[in-house]
């Protein structure tokens, strides 16, 4: 589904990605982990075409993403920070995104119900709280049925009930056979969503494999400690 080869990206002098090779097959779910500033968001944004790599190539569904915008029809993306034009109302935003994608999806009604967004539909986006904005953000992402789902810190600002709903949503998407990429700093969330992880460190893939493999390698019984001890492993 996604092939990344020799991806390099520099921001000024700061080399954020230093040769990433990654292949993600159809129906696979990967969590991209790593400390702050390890290049997770840059990697995701490169796949989306928002960051233009210095060298290397990215193919989505067999098509190169260079000078191409149609491939994004196959991606649903949840950005890290949700900020919308403050003068638009929630239902106008939903209509607008549908219009931009030329996709008269009807799944939004279901999601509005699920996250209890009905009372907010006629409110302006500028007046919503952070958590409610994140719910709108999630709604916009899950509204379409694209085969590739990219989620950047999806849990930010969500209350516990919405967090459970989000996990349920992800499980149902998983069952539909979608390819999912997710970043998060909340390990329990990662563990409940997927078992495959890619660990980035200073712009390189430091570990790729399953959580049991990671636990075996670091000799740590739980995931959180295994992740923490990856860094000490790096010193060996």
């Amino acid at each position: 589904m996604v092939q990344i080869e020799g991806l390099h990206k520099k921001f000024g002098r700061n080399e954020v990605l230093q040769g990433i090779d990654l292949e993600i097959g159809r129906g696979e779910i990967f969590a991209i982990l790593g400390p702050n500033g390890s290049g997770k968001t840059t990697l995701i944004k490169s796949v989306l075409g928002m960051v233009i790599p210095n060298t290397g190539s990215i193919h989505v569904n067999g098509h190169s993403i260079k000078k191409n915008h149609r491939y994004r029809n196959e991606i649903d993306y949840l950005p890290q920070i949700a900020n919308f034009p403050s003068n638009l109302r929630v239902n106008e935003l939903i209509r607008m995104i549908k219009d931009l994608r030329n996709d008269p999806s009807e799944k939004d009604q279901e999601l509005i119900e699920l996250f209890g967004l009905k009372p907010y539909l006629n409110k302006k986006l500028g007046t919503l709280s952070g958590g409610t904005k994140q719910k709108v953000n999630i709604l916009l992402t899950f509204m379409f049925d694209s085969p590739l789902l990219i989620l950047d810190e999806p849990t930010t600002g969500l209350d516990p009930i919405s967090l459970i709903r989000l996990k349920e949503l992800l499980t149902s998407e998983k069952e539909k056979g979608k390819t999912i990429l997710v970043t998060s700093h909340i390990m329990s969330f990662v563990e409940s969503v997927t078992s495959k992880i890619v660990y980035l460190l200073e712009g390189k893939i430091y570990f790729k494999g399953s959580i049991p493999e990671l636990k075996a390698r670091t000799k740590q019984p739980d995931f959180e400690h295994a992740i923490a001890s990856i860094l000490t492993l790096a010193d060996d």
Partner: protein, 260 residues
């Protein structure tokens, strides 16, 4: 692009600032007509206000809009939409909403005063057209500045500087250079210098149309002498169009290479 334009416009048309801007022009139009009691004189006073104020507002508004809609732009970038359409669409959205505030805000009081029955109608129309051009030009320039600067404070600073340069400093430098080099023939130089500043260009264009030789100034007089009134107007309009096209092209080019 049309879709992005539509939604940017929609967003802006509801913004408080668009109404403040609109109300300002409405008030300005009414006050000027009351004070002058004469359409032609009101048009001349308006020209002086428009030529300084429209660039200022367009620059500030353009930078502000770009920075405020950054996260939203990121949302759009993840959609199957061409990059250049996003930015050109937003640019046109801002420029058009500003132009409409100007045209409608000034238009209403003048229509009620009876501009259609007056001989000054074409002067007034030209004034609005020039105002629209200035909105398009300075919004495009401010978008370029904002695209080039991640830091909003810097972006704002450069934008204000640009306005200050074009509206005030440029004329000063121009006059100083005329004084220093007064022994040389300066006709070509001053015509070229005028072409490189859209504010001066608009002033010359309007003054040529109004045909007030007392107000033409040095460059205006040169323009008239060099090109004649009609050819001069044609040239200055053509250069104004170029002033819109070139910065828009730079928005297009820069937006394709930028990282978000």
């Amino acid at each position: 692009m049309i879709k992005i334009l539509k939604y940017s416009f929609y967003d802006l048309i509801r913004s408080r600032w668009t109404y403040v801007y609109f109300a300002f022009y409405l008030l300005l139009g009414i006050v000027l007509l009351f004070l002058n009691n004469d359409l032609s004189k009101a048009v001349i006073t308006l020209m002086n206000v428009i030529i300084i104020l429209v660039p200022l507002i367009s620059t500030v508004f353009g930078v502000m809009y770009y920075y405020n809609s950054r996260e939203f732009t990121e949302l759009l970038l993840a959609q199957p939409v061409k990059r250049s359409s996003i930015f050109i669409g937003q640019y046109l959205g801002v420029a058009l909403s500003l132009s409409i505030s100007l045209v409608v805000g000034l238009g209403l009081p003048f229509i009620f005063y009876g501009i259609f029955k007056s001989v000054a109608i074409w002067d007034f129309v030209l004034l609005l057209v020039t105002g629209t051009f200035l909105s398009l030009i300075f919004t495009a320039l401010s978008f370029n500045i904002a695209l080039a600067n991640e830091n909003r404070i810097k972006g704002f600073g450069y934008a204000i500087l640009l306005w200050l340069f074009m509206a005030v400093i440029y004329d000063g430098l121009f006059l100083i250079s005329l004084l220093i080099f007064e022994e040389y023939p300066l006709d070509t130089f001053s015509i070229a210098a005028t072409l490189f500043n859209p504010i001066d260009l608009s002033r010359v264009l309007i003054l040529l149309k109004l045909d007030i030789s007392a107000l033409l100034g040095y460059t205006g007089a040169l323009f008239q002498k060099f090109f004649g009134t009609y050819f001069g107007m044609l040239i200055s309009s053509a250069v104004l169009v170029l002033w819109v096209i070139v910065p828009s092209f730079f928005i297009y080019r820069r937006s394709r290479r930028k990282d978000f």
